[in-house]
Structure formats: C-alpha cells, structure tokens
C-alpha cells in the first residue's frame, strides 16, 4: 500500500533546514553575554529535533487513516492535560502553560493543536453530505470550544486564536457554507464589545487588554508592557537591507529584547540577516507551505485532504501571527514561530505533523489506480 516513490523529500529537507538554522541562531544568542539564554538551550532544541524526527518517521510509516480511532481518545486526554495545567502548571510570563516532565516541559496546548486537526478532519470527512447544515457546523464548533475555553482561562489569547484559525481553515476546505461562517463572524463581532468590557473587570484577563492596547500604542508604557513591541521593531529595523550578520554590537546583543529565544527569535534573525535574508527565509516558508498545500491536493480521500489543510492552517497562522508581532503588525501573544522558536512541545508537534503529511502522500490511492 505504501509507495515510497511518492515520498516528498522537500517535506523533510525544508523543515530540517529551518530547524538547523534556528539552532544556529540559538547558539549565537547563547554566546551573547547579556542574554538570559545558556548553551543548554540549543542543545535541548537539538534533542527535541531528534525526538521530533522520531515522531515524523513513526507517523510516516503509520497509515494516517488508522489515526482516526485514536484521535478522539487522545484529544480528550490532551484536553484533560490542559485542565491539569490550569491546576498545577508552571507559569511563564503571567500565563500557566507548562507541565514539567523532567527534560521536556510539556505544553499540552501544542499537541492539542495537531490533535484538533485530526479530530476535525475525521468529523468533517464523515459528514461530507451534511456539511451544508448549520447543525454540523455547530457540532464541529464544540470540538474547538473546549480547548479555546481552557486555553483562554490560562489565559493564553494567542493559542486560542490558533484553535479558531485551524477550525476556520478546515471548515472552509470541508465546504461549509460561507453564509454560515459570515453569520458566525457577525455574532463574534457583536459579542466582542461586551467581552471587552467584561475582560477589564477580571484581573486575570486584564493582561490581554493591556497587550492589545499597547500594540496600538507602545509608547504608553515604554519600559513595561510596550517594551518588547518597541525593541522588537528597533531590532528588526536596525537589520536594514543587508543585515548585521552576527557582527559585534548589534541591537539584539544588548539583551534589551526579552524571550529572544522563543517569541522574539524572528527579531534577532531579521536583524542579523536583513531584508534580503528575510525574503529568502520567507521563500523557504512559502515553499514549505506550498508542499503542504500540494499534499492536500494529492490526498486520495477527503480525510487526508482535510488533515493536510488543517496542518497548513496551523503552521501558516502561527507563522503569520508570530512574525506579525515581531514587526508590529499583530499584538504580542505567546505564539511560537514554527520550527525556529525554542520549545520542545511546539517543535516536536510540528515535526510530527510532517510525518502525517508524508503518510498521506505515500498512501494516496489515486495514483495507484492510475498506474495499476
């Protein structure tokens, strides 16, 4: 059933290239005296990459269709873990997101993203005939509502937006009526002002408001919450057209950026490689996402097609929001830059999803019939 000639080497080479580049940048950061990053960061990242490759390999060999029965139980488990995080997670930068598992601090919201893709792919592919009904749309929303609620409570606005983005992308691919989506959007718009007012009254959610207001006007609190918004743009901007290429005395070496190994790694990269380099980096991302889109096109069944497009939405949305916040296009949220940001859960999940894509390619039946 497997057809190795369908194996897409680009789907391995492109992510690996990005991961390697990311580790190189992390090593450079760890050598700067003012940074809070130690050499153990790139070492761990390399370890996570190896673990991620392991998952990628396993899932390549595993028939993606056989994932279906596991999807819902696993998804339930991971949602349970998300609940656990709320109770005993480690807090980082004001939000409880981590469970400590020794070497790997597990951030359950990362695998939850991928599992949501699998669950939704199963759900939509089984209801292809009833996809135009409002009831189907409403039921599918339930799968998203639970993690969104849990993650929002952490509180982690960015990650909940990723869940919503995955749903929107997959719903569109599954053929949900645009009128249904439009109605949903309208409801959200109507609820937003009310939610905004309520948020201001709950201390836990006030930080989200802060972040959004500061995104609109960073100078309001230049040494506090606006700090990263200002410094990330100065850092990116001082890269100029050609970049600084890891020379001495660059802006990122001043250590003024925080979480430069995770949320703001793009600022460091952009200062070093400049606009030309950023264009090349974007070209790599585009090539990668195109390969994923190709999987969606090649997939032999609607389940595979939906899986691929869900993974595409997941990676593309996160990339957009993360880079966007580095260049003042998006509010600051804790969303990692896929394959480049330091973080085991995110890296392993992303690499694992490439295994699923490969599995879809190896088993798409259309060609089998065409040849045989």
């Amino acid at each position: 059933m497997k057809h190795w000639r369908n194996f897409d080497f680009q789907l391995v080479a492109l992510p690996l290239g990005l991961v390697t580049f990311g580790i190189f940048v992390l090593i450079a950061i760890s050598r700067w005296p003012t940074s809070g990053v130690t050499i153990s960061t790139p070492i761990h990242q390399a370890l996570y990459a190896v673990m991620g490759l392991g998952f990628m390999f396993l899932l390549t060999n595993f028939d993606y269709r056989l994932l279906r029965p596991f999807a819902l139980p696993l998804y339930t488990c991971i949602l349970g873990l998300l609940g656990v995080v709320l109770v005993l997670g480690h807090s980082a930068y004001g939000a409880q997101r981590w469970i400590n598992l020794g070497l790997l601090p597990l951030q359950p919201s990362e695998p939850a993203k991928l599992l949501l893709v699998i669950v939704l792919a199963k759900f939509f592919s089984e209801r292809e005939q009833r996809i135009d009904r409002a009831g189907t749309v409403a039921t599918s929303l339930l799968f998203v509502a639970v993690p969104v609620a849990l993650v929002l409570y952490q509180p982690d606005l960015g990650t909940s937006a990723v869940f919503v983005a995955i749903w929107v992308g997959m719903a569109l691919m599954a053929g949900v009526r645009l009128s249904h989506l439009a109605a949903l959007g309208a409801v959200c718009l109507a609820v937003l002002p009310i939610a905004w007012t309520l948020m201001g009254h709950v201390k836990k959610f006030a930080y989200m408001q802060d972040r959004f207001l500061i995104f609109l006007n960073p100078q309001k609190d230049p040494l506090g919450a606006g700090y990263n918004v200002i410094h990330s743009q100065i850092t990116v901007g001082s890269g100029g057209f050609l970049g600084q290429w890891f020379t001495v005395g660059t802006q990122s070496q001043l250590g003024l950026l925080r979480v430069e190994d995770k949320d703001f790694i793009f600022s460091v990269i952009a200062e070093q490689i400049g606009f030309v380099g950023v264009l090349i980096l974007f070209a790599v991302f585009v090539a990668l996402l195109m390969r994923i889109a190709r999987v969606s096109f090649m997939a032999g069944d609607s389940y595979g097609r939906l899986l691929a497009s869900g993974i595409l939405s997941m990676i593309m949305f996160q990339t957009f929001v993360n880079i966007g916040m580095n260049i003042g296009l998006m509010p600051v949220t804790g969303i990692p830059l896929p394959l480049l940001s330091y973080g085991g859960s995110s890296l392993i999940t992303t690499l694992a999803s490439f295994g699923i894509l490969q599995s879809i390619l190896l088993r798409h039946q259309k060609l089998v019939f065409a040849v045989g």
Binding site: L223, G237, G239, G240, G255, V278, F282, L312, I323
Partner: protein, 650 residues
C-alpha cells in the same frame, strides 16, 4: 467550489500571507531602516549586571565575621564608549592616573579582547582608592568610556599567623573558563563576566551558596557609556551566610601557640587540628606557614604571588588536608586495633620486646636483616596496652608481619588486612571535607607489589613507615574514632548555611536555614567496643603511665586535662616528622587533637606532645603551666639518639 479552485485559493492565501509580512518587513527594515538603526545607535538604555553581595562567612558561634565585604571602587571601561581617534590618549591618561598599573598597552589589550561585547563594562582595576575614583569621575569629559563604579571587596579576618587562609581561601575575578562553565549552569542574570568568585578554600567550595543572584539594572548612559540615570534598579539577592565549625577564639589561641612553639625551636612548618569527637566538626585547624589572603582580594600583584610560589616552605599548601606524611608510630593505634579485631592478639597476649627482630630469608638463612625497636635493650614483655604506652616497635612488627623467631607460627594480621582496617579508619582516601585540594594519603596494597612485597614491608607498615602516608586531618579523624568508641564521623568545616539562595534550585521567598548541621556517620562498629577500650587504655597510659613520665606522651601529662594519645616520630628525608595524636579528657572525651611538625628532626614526644598540651589548655581554658620540672624549652634537655633507617620510632 471545485477542488481545483479550493487548491488555488489555498496557494493564493499562502502567497498573500507572506506578501503582507514581506511588505511590512520592507517598511520596517528598508523604508524605516535608517530611522530604527539610528534609534538603536542612539538608544542609551543599557542593561547592566549588578553583582549580588557575596555571603558572609562566620565562625561557629556566629559572633565573629571571618569574611565580609568592604566598599571599594572599581575602574571599568566600556569599549563602545571609547572613540577610536582618542583611544590611545585616553589609555595613556588613565594608566597614568592608575600609576601605570596596568600600563596603557595592557589597557588597550583588555579593550581589544572585549570588543566582542562592546557594550559591557570591563574591569580595568579593582579596588582603587576613593581619591582615584573621584578624579576619574571629575575627568569624565576627557575620559569617555571610562567609569569608576562602586563595588565591594572581600575582607578576611586574620590572626598574625594568617591561620584562616587555608580554610577560607580567597576569591577573585571569574576566569573565562569559570564564566563559561557558570553560563552553562545559570542564565545570565545569575553570573556576570566580571563577577568575583571563590578561587580557593571555602570561598571556592561554597561559591554556589556565597555567590547570590545578580540583578540587572536598566540604566541610561551618556555618549561615553557612563550611567547618568538608573531607569530600573537591579534586584539582587545576596549570597547565603556560611557558618564554619571553626571556633575563632580557639583557632587564634592555637595559631598563636603553634607559631610560638615553632619559633622557639627554629622551624617554620607545623600543623594542628582539633576535632569535636561527637560530631566530626573541625573546631580549629592551623597549617603554618600561611599567607595573607587579603592580598588576593582585588587581585594579587605578580611579585607577591611569585614570592608565595617560590617560598621553600610553600605557604600556599595546606598541610592539614593536603600534606601527606608517614604517620610513624601514631599508626600503631591502627595496627593495635587491627591485631585485636582480627583476633591475632587479645588483652593478655604478651610479646617480648628484645630490642630487635632478626629476619632471615627462607631460602638463604645467612641473608638476614635486623629490624630494631626504638629502645636498643628492649622494653621487655609487652601486651597491647603497654605496647601502645611505650610505643613498642617489636610488638607491632610481630602482630603486623609475624615471622618473629621467638614466636614461630604465631598468627599475624598481614599487610592486606592491616590495610583494610586502616582504610576503615579513613586512611588512604579523601575525607570529603569541604575544602578543595584535599589529598588522600596512601595505604599500600601488597597485591599491587606482588612478589616484591616482603615481611619487612609489613613491619614498616605496622609502625606507619614505608609506603604509608596520612594527612593530619586523617589522623585526627582516626583519634576521634577511637575516642568516641568507634564511630567514624565525616569531618566537617561547614557548620550550617542560612540565606535564601539554593544553588541550581532557585531562590526562597524568605531567608532560612538552607543546610542545617547534621553529623554524618561514615561507619561505625567496625572495631569491637572492647578492643577500642584497650586502645584507649594504651593511649591513656602513653600519657599517664605511673611512675610519672614513663609513657612516651608524658609531656602531655596534666591531671587537669587527663589526655590520652600517641606519639609518632616518622623517619623522613630532611629530618623526622614529629607527631602527636590523641584526645581528652580520657573519661569523658570531647576533642581529638593532632599536632604534626614536619622535618622537626626530633621526636613527637618532645616536639609535638607539648604543643598538644598547650592546645588542650587553650580548649579547656586552663592557666598555662610548665610540664616537666626544670624543662625550659620545648625540646627539654633530653638528648635523643635517633635510630637507623630500619629502626623503629617512638
């Protein structure tokens, strides 16, 4: 929608997404690039590390600070703040202000080596006078890039003989290797590139506790990189307080007495250690000569350091923990314990000390070697107690190696069992005391020597000669083990640690006792209590045998103290080492004492024992008295005949 249309839309959305991002990056990097670059260049906000105050080291009472921090001024340079055109002139002017220490060329080299972190202040000179600091501050317009920063410097409490230097060690600026190692363990805010860290002694060993957690302050700097305004002060967490087991009063008294005694006999080297026998706490530990560790604070001058290194007496060496010497007859305590424990002898077994043993080859009866005891005519019939009291070599040879022609076929301990029991007493291995650089000594393993190990080697081992080496710390542990009835405690120099920094774990909300003192038993009951009390009795008689002054330790005989002990005169190139190892009081032991004078060229009985007596007087707060009637100096007027190389020792 058709599948193909969807796919096209999908691809279009990818392109669109990155087009938006690229457009914005174009705006930020290219359109606004020079604006942001200028912002970056004129950004005068700097994050600067603030070193936490190092922890204080106290003596066991907590009443005496042994190390503290004194305010001082450091001259720093920020490479980025020095204009290239004026650099040489600035270095020359600065060097002149610092009295050419360092020279302008050296400053230039320091700057060159730190160009890779051009914004970080680099240390040029530690601990300059307040006057120099003020001049540098006033000349700020002429000296861009140069700063005088307030700092702290370690101050070490010392007695005139600097007896604490080996224990406390010293601290100094972090080396590149130490910094790299620390950066692997801790994020940047914990350890800075110019931090002061422990380099020797407790300062080094306890550095993770003493160091504290650095802070980062956000400062606005002027064009010359000098701070003009603190935007956000750095929050530092001071290092933990470390309490030593040392009793500062006893340490000073012991140091004074040891120095006086050595001065009297015209020697410069000597060691004394006092241990609490119930806990393993080291109450006082002196190794002379020592050095002034305050010289190391702020960087020792090359001249002083060379003088210390080339001093033939090696003042940087800690003889107490790192000096390895043949223990001589003090080892007979171990030999006796081994003989009793292996049932080679019991309390009633007697051996006739005839003054020598003639050991002949089994193959060639004419090839013989004579092993002498210290007393040429012999000591007569000896049991284990009197053998210790009189330090009978013949008894120890016989029980250790057998083959005494007078007792053919009698059982003996043998080198391998003797070695095993010596190791149970902690000899031949590191005690694990919290002072870096400890040495293990040596207990020979006959198996390693195969056929070249002879009965004579076992004889020598039985009297602590030959290949056997021990540190004074190991011998005081052995004495403490005998004194407390057979429990070998881990010797400790750290009493307790209080504060809020838990190394590699984090910082506690409020200061507390991080590491309380808990005596650690390494092993116990490895010698039967009955056997221990026989050895105690032998050591007691060594001091207190009647008629007065007939035991070898008689120079410690003092009814007010009632000590028990064992002398040792260990043959060594450069003159015999004089040892005394013991404890007091005999009936209710409290402390064990070891005194060792290397190359005293005299017997333990005459050199080491009287010093031990002085230490007991210090500990029990007794009025000093003369011991031997008519004795006016440490050696007394007894002339001693040292026996030959194969001879025994007292």
């Amino acid at each position: 929608m058709r599948k193909k249309t969807k796919f096209l839309l999908l691809r279009a959305s990818v392109i669109l997404t990155f087009a938006i991002l690229a457009g914005r990056v174009w705006y930020v990097q290219v359109v606004m690039g020079s604006y942001y670059k200028q912002q970056a260049d004129t950004s005068k906000i700097r994050l600067e590390p603030v070193q936490a105050l190092r922890g204080i080291i106290y003596d066991r009472t907590g009443l005496h600070q042994l190390v503290w921090n004194a305010p001082s001024w450091n001259v720093m340079i920020v490479p980025h703040g020095v204009p290239d055109a004026q650099a040489t002139a600035i270095y020359v002017q600065l060097s002149a202000l610092l009295h050419n220490q360092p020279s302008a060329a050296q400053i230039a080299r320091i700057v060159q080596n730190n160009q890779w972190r051009a914004y970080a202040p680099v240390l040029i000179k530690r601990d300059v006078s307040p006057d120099t600091a003020m001049i540098i501050k006033q000349l700020h317009s002429q000296l861009p890039g140069i700063r005088a920063d307030p700092s702290n410097i370690r101050q070490y409490n010392q007695d005139p003989a600097f007896s604490l230097a080996h224990i406390l060690g010293y601290s100094g600026e972090i080396t590149q290797e130490e910094y790299s190692a620390a950066r692997r363990l801790y994020p940047a805010e914990h350890v800075g590139a110019t931090d002061e860290v422990g380099q020797a002694g407790v300062e080094a060993k306890m550095d993770p506790y003493l160091h504290g957690v650095n802070g980062t302050e956000e400062v606005e700097v002027d064009a010359g990189e000098r701070p003009v305004r603190v935007l956000r002060p750095g929050k530092t967490i001071p290092g933990d307080s470390v309490y030593l087991t040392i009793d500062w009063n006893l340490q000073q008294a012991m140091s004074r007495d040891l120095a006086a005694a050595l001065n009297h006999i015209g020697l410069s080297r000597g060691v004394a250690v006092v241990e609490n026998i119930h806990t393993g706490e080291i109450l006082a530990m002196v190794s002379l000569p020592s050095y002034n560790n305050n010289w190391f604070s702020g960087g020792i001058s090359a001249k002083r350091y060379a003088a210390l290194l080339h001093n033939p007496d090696q003042p940087l060496n800690d003889l107490a923990t790192a000096g390895q010497f043949p223990p001589g007859s003090t080892f007979k305590i171990i030999t006796a314990a081994a003989a009793l424990q292996t049932h080679v002898v019991d309390a009633n077994t007697t051996i006739d000390d005839t003054g020598s043993i003639r050991l002949c080859s089994v193959y060639d009866p004419s090839a013989c070697q004579v092993f002498n005891g210290w007393k040429p005519g012999g000591l007569g019939l000896m049991n284990v107690v009197s053998a210790l009291a009189h330090s009978s070599d013949i008894y120890m040879y016989t029980v250790a190696g057998g083959h005494n022609p007078m007792y053919p076929g009698a059982p003996y301990v043998g080198a391998s069992r003797l070695g095993s029991i010596a190791r149970l007493f902690g000899l031949g291995s590191l005690s694990g005391i919290d002072i870096p650089g400890e040495m293990p000594g040596n207990i020979p393993d006959p198996a390693q020597y195969k056929d070249s190990w002879h009965v004579g080697d076992t004889y020598n081992m039985g009297i602590g000669q030959g290949f056997t080496l021990a540190t004074p710390l190991q011998m005081v542990n052995a004495a403490a083990t005998i004194a407390n009835g057979g429990t070998f405690y881990q010797p400790r120099i750290i009493e307790r640690i209080t504060g809020s920094v838990v190394p590699r774990k984090g910082v506690l909300r409020s200061p507390t006792t991080i590491q309380p003192f808990v005596p650690t038993i390494i092993r116990r009951n490895f010698i039967d209590p009955g056997n221990i009390s026989l050895i105690q009795e032998g050591m007691h008689e060594s001091v207190d045998l009647q008629p007065a002054w007939s035991g070898t330790s008689y120079l410690t005989q003092d009814a007010r103290i009632d000590a028990a002990g064992k002398t040792g005169t260990a043959e060594a190139p450069g003159g015999a080492h004089a040892w005394w190892v013991g404890y007091a009081p005999f009936n209710n032991p409290q402390i064990a004492v070891t005194v060792m004078v290397p190359n005293a060229n005299s017997e333990g009985a005459y050199t080491a024992a009287p010093i031990a007596h002085k230490i007991f007087e210090d500990y029990f707060h007794l009025k000093p008295i003369m011991l031997t009637p008519g004795a006016t100096n440490w050696l007394g007027d007894v002339s001693i005949q040292l026996v030959g190389a194969a001879g025994g020792s007292q």
